[in-house]
């Protein structure tokens, strides 16, 4: 098969996503008072309502509606004041009533969008001459490095209930094929689920990956879900079709399932684009089918072929009256929305003078952002870029740091008392303890000497014995300065300030 970037020069990939998110932060299920939990013993959080026992009736969870309205507002959706629940029928043991309560043509949230920032490396997947976004009208302007911003339209976000979990025993990878028995755990049945459907505006696997990432960041910041792709609280199906460059008619699409990481999403789409292109180029046809991504074999395989459209006999749920959301309710939801990642990033750049990239990384995850702000609390504003640097480059990999420790460390770095390498060492030492990095550095004598008078003899000694390098420098090889700094550091047994050595050496050599 040809490489993705080559394929995408001849073919346009049209990608849409359906993203299911469990509202894991709620206490109870969508239509009953059963506890939400991922870890409890199977079939312990059940009642007549979620088990679909005769005579049991659904009562909607107000907090779930609040969550979906917040999700809609955060993704620029129109909040529909009138919408209804519908029943979608199919016979399968994962749905106790043999219908799923979901929404019909009008969802709580309609017609939103997210702006996607595609950075240089990922931007290469899109041919550089393409100048319109997936919505067919927004101009795609590229920065010098090739990065671009594309709006991705959201068709709708609707509310529904999750099905039970089927556990197939005895088959391959827990799949039903060749399984000897199937067990049903109804704990998940009735979990509040929001389904977001994008317009087919995505054009590359990288865009799809970034969209999911941004959605995860947004929903986590809203606090409506833990959004775990691994545990399945956030699930993504990708619909994809190809068309020849310049054509407007859509090709036949396939649907991708079993995507449980951002990498899987990217790689499954990449594989599928290349597979479809190869089939089409060989004169074959694409069947409308559901395909299963096998991460170990890095390929998609057919799950089932859709010959006819399923008839779900959708009709308004007669147990649940139509919703009339009041202005007050929507405003209450709006007021609950915390600062979202993009706004937070921009604020960090504007108020704290962070590098945009650092700011984006810190703002993306609400837990990280909150830790960062705890570190910042009590520090001088001027220290913020150093703290951000530490947060982005040193803190990952350290599980039990305290904000004060990071703050202390950043202070040491900012005043050039330790090197970056030393800083990493200090973090390793204080992680999981109450130790103060400043005290630690002093105890161990790690503080760098920044007194020129103390360093000058060392500089003179090094220049005296490295005559070859001095000559090379004077001949124009400025790179040799690094070697000389290294020699000074070695002579000072690591305790000299490398910046100061650099300065002193340069002064001497230029004199």
């Amino acid at each position: 098969m040809r490489r993705l970037e080559e394929v995408l020069r001849d073919w346009e990939a049209v990608i849409g996503l359906e993203v299911h998110t469990e509202l894991t932060t709620l206490e109870t299920k969508m239509f009953c008072n059963c506890r939400l939990s991922h870890d409890d013993e199977p079939n312990t959080n059940v009642c007549p309502v979620c088990l679909g026992m005769p005579g049991a009736l659904p009562v909607p969870n107000r907090k779930a509606i609040q969550s979906i309205v917040m999700a809609g507002l955060a993704t620029n959706c129109q909040i529909m004041r009138r919408s209804m629940f519908y029943r979608k029928h199919y016979f399968y043991p994962d749905m106790t009533k043999n219908f799923q309560t979901t929404q019909g043509p009008v969802a709580f949230c309609m017609h939103g969008y997210l702006d996607l920032e595609v950075e240089a490396a990922g931007a290469r997947e899109r041919p550089e001459w393409e100048d319109v976004a997936g919505d067919g009208k927004t101009p795609l302007s590229r920065a010098q490095d090739g990065s671009y911003v594309a709006p991705i339209r959201i068709l709708r976000i609707h509310m529904e209930e999750d099905a039970a979990k089927l556990v197939h025993v005895g088959g391959e990878e827990g799949r039903i094929t060749a399984a000897t028995e199937s067990l049903v755990d109804y704990n998940r049945c009735g979990t509040p689920l929001i389904e977001l459907v994008t317009e087919p505006d995505l054009r590359t696997p990288e865009e799809a990956r970034l969209f999911m990432e941004k959605l995860q960041q947004t929903f986590r910041t809203l606090g409506i879900s833990d959004c775990s792709l691994e545990n399945g609280s956030m699930r993504c199906d990708g619909n994809i079709s190809l068309r020849r460059r310049g054509e407007s008619a859509l090709g036949t699409k396939t649907e991708m399932k079993n995507i449980n990481s951002f990498k899987s999403l990217h790689d499954a789409l990449e594989y599928e684009i290349c597979r479809q292109a190869e089939a089409l180029e060989e004169g074959g046809i694409i069947y409308q089918e559901t395909r299963h991504w096998e991460p170990a074999r890095r390929r998609t395989v057919v799950m089932r072929v859709k010959e006819t459209a399923d008839d779900y006999r959708l009709f308004p749920d007669p147990d649940l009256a139509p919703f009339e959301l009041s202005d007050a309710f929507v405003e209450e939801c709006r007021a609950r929305i915390p600062e979202l990642p993009d706004a937070k990033r921009d604020r960090y750049v504007a108020e704290l003078s962070l590098k945009r990239k650092d700011a984006a990384i810190l703002a993306a995850d609400p837990a990280i952002a909150s830790f960062f702000e705890d570190v910042l609390d009590g520090a001088e504003t001027g220290l913020a870029p150093t703290i951000a640097n530490v947060m982005v480059n040193l803190v990952p990999g350290h599980a039990c740091l305290q904000p004060a420790q990071v703050r202390g460390l950043a202070g040491l770095l900012a005043e050039d008392s330790i090197t970056f390498a030393q800083a990493r060492e200090v973090l390793d030492l204080v992680d999981g303890s109450d130790a103060d990095p400043v005290a630690m550095v002093d105890e161990r004598g790690m503080r760098q000497v920044s007194d020129a008078g103390a360093l000058e003899p060392i500089v003179d000694e090094v220049l005296g014995r490295c005559t070859d390098q001095v000559q090379q420098y004077r001949d124009g090889n400025r790179k040799v300065l690094g070697f000389l700094v290294g020699q000074c550091m070695k002579a000072a047994k690591g305790s000299g300030n490398p910046k100061l050595f650099n300065k002193l050496l340069a002064e001497r050599l230029e004199a």
């Binding site: 005579g55 006999r313 009709f315 007669p318």
Partner: protein, 503 residues
């Protein structure tokens, strides 16, 4: 104590409270009556002897402890077998649920128990409430206590028959298109369908969720008022999103005079094909009784009412198809043994668990909801529903209640209605009430001169004007002597059988 038959619910409750007789004595009398009469009437699917005696003894014990007893203390009460009651099976008269043990108690049943009733058993019905004769019960038919060669009506036929035969003082039924009022009419008792949302549906096995409503049967309007007070006490049910708070005080509003209030009559309805002369005469009598008390008759129009049956037989089967989808034999209910695949098990369990009418309605619903049919049938049916609701809203502008027949003629004989569509058509006077969510009640008028069978009048009222409706029903009862004296309510069958013409 005097014969149980002779006592109203209020008299029993007062007697128990004051110690004139014990709840256990009343329970034993009711169980004896059931023992004697069930052979002919067959109103019950289960008689809960032990449960009844335990509850009655608990009532007596509470009295001895000096606790205040409920307004229905010791009153024998039966429940339609689509209502969950812990300690009984809830079968819906279906093989599908033949051995289904209730796993909680329905709110309506719980509220009756809280008011003090003694639960004597679960009454027969058409399977899953699909029918108008109780003939579609998977277990046995029930007979009309006035003439056992005739049907008791349906689908709450067992409940109506039990009250008419004096086996229970009160029963609960459910009404989706007339299933309380029609059997009440056939059996000569009072049967009320409250407005949609007045009584919780929680724990009542659903047929048509947007149409179903639970209501009481009694031999007098007063007994029904007491039951209504019990059913609405406690306000809206947090476990039924469609239930709403409804003011209690039915009993105290009962004797409100009807003088100067307006009774709507619909001339078009009196011209309906198939309406018997007996029934027409009965309605004329009811008009006179109400007029004599100063009520004013006004003519009103319900121009779309003829379309109600068509709309109903689209909406109700669609909802039934959906509500009954859960019966697949996987978690509970009938499961076909020895099936190789899940699909086969589901198909065979449903094929063998459901009876003919239940299958017919679900197939109809599955067809009507399928893509293509939905726009052609379901959507227009909902539009018709809106039109009928608007017809009523206009009518309420000029009257407080509407008086009309409940059924076109008296109870028919077994096997007489073999064509299902003919059976469906007999619901023409009751269905529009469910379609619009209004309240309705069937009030007995005595026995017909030709048929010697009970006749009735139906009163319908605006949604949530249930108390006003009941006061008109009481006015009608007040002006009639059905054999027990003027205004004393209906007598027990068959003591008064064959005494037709004594209207």
């Amino acid at each position: 104590m005097s014969s149980l038959d002779e006592l109203s619910a209020a008299e029993i409750a007062v007697g128990v409270r004051e110690g004139a007789f014990s709840a256990e004595e009343v329970a034993r009398a009711a169980l004896d009556a059931i023992d004697q009469r069930e052979g002919e009437v067959a109103a019950f699917l289960q008689v809960s002897n032990e449960l009844a005696l335990n509850v009655a003894r608990a009532t007596d014990a509470a009295r001895l402890r000096g606790e205040e007893l409920g307004p229905l203390a010791g009153v024998p009460c039966g429940f339609k077998d689509n209502m969950q009651l812990l300690g009984t099976r809830t079968t819906c008269a279906s093989r599908m649920l033949e051995n289904y043990e209730s796993n909680f108690t329905a709110t309506c049943v719980g509220r009756m128990l809280a008011a003090g009733v003694t639960p004597v058993g679960k009454t027969n019905m058409d399977e899953f409430a699909f029918g108008s004769s109780t003939e579609s019960s998977a277990f046995h038919r029930s007979n009309n206590p006035w003439d056992t060669t005739r049907v008791p009506g349906g689908s709450s036929g067992g409940s109506a028959a039990a009250v008419a035969a004096g086996e229970a003082t009160l029963c609960l039924g459910s009404d989706t298109g007339g299933s309380i009022r029609q059997p009440a009419s056939f059996c000569g008792v009072v049967g009320m369908k409250p407005s949609y949302g007045v009584v919780s549906r929680c724990g009542v096995v659903a047929f048509g969720s947007s149409l179903d409503q639970v209501g009481p049967f009694g031999r007098s309007v007063g007994d029904v008022a007491l039951a209504m007070d019990a059913l609405v006490s406690g306000g809206a049910d947090p476990f039924d999103a469609s239930s709403q708070a409804c003011e209690a005080g039915f009993l105290s509003a009962l004797e409100a005079p009807v003088e100067g209030r307006r009774v709507g009559v619909v001339p078009q309805l009196m011209e309906m094909e198939g309406l018997s002369d007996e029934v027409k005469d009965g309605i004329r009598l009811a008009e006179r009784v109400l007029e004599d008390q100063g009520a004013q008759l006004v003519e009103v129009e319900l121009p779309h009412i003829a379309s109600a049956i068509a709309a109903y037989y689209v909406i109700a089967p669609c909802e039934a198809f959906s509500n009954l989808a859960r019966f697949d034999g996987v978690r509970y209910g009938y499961q076909e043994p020895g099936c190789a695949t899940l699909d086969e098990q589901t198909a065979r369990s449903r094929a063998h668990g459901f009876g003919e009418e239940a299958k017919r309605r679900q197939l109809l619903g599955a067809y009507l909801l399928s893509s293509g049919s939905y726009d052609k049938y379901y959507y227009p049916a909902q539009q018709v529903r809106t039109l009928i609701t608007q017809d009523y809203l206009r009518a309420w502008g000029s009257c407080d209640v509407i008086l009309m027949p409940c059924v076109p003629r008296c109870a028919f004989k077994f096997g007489e209605m073999s064509d299902p569509t003919q059976m469906y058509a007999s619901d023409m006077f009751t269905i529009s009430n469910n379609i619009a969510g209004n309240c309705g009640i069937s009030v007995p008028l005595g026995l017909g001169p030709d048929s010697c069978m009970p006749l009735s009048a139906q009163l319908q009222g605006p949604a949530f004007k249930d108390q006003s409706l009941l006061s008109f029903a009481r006015a009608l009862e007040r002006g009639l002597d059905l054999g027990r004296g003027l205004g004393a309510g209906a007598p027990v069958a068959p003591g008064f059988a064959k005494r037709g013409g004594e209207l």
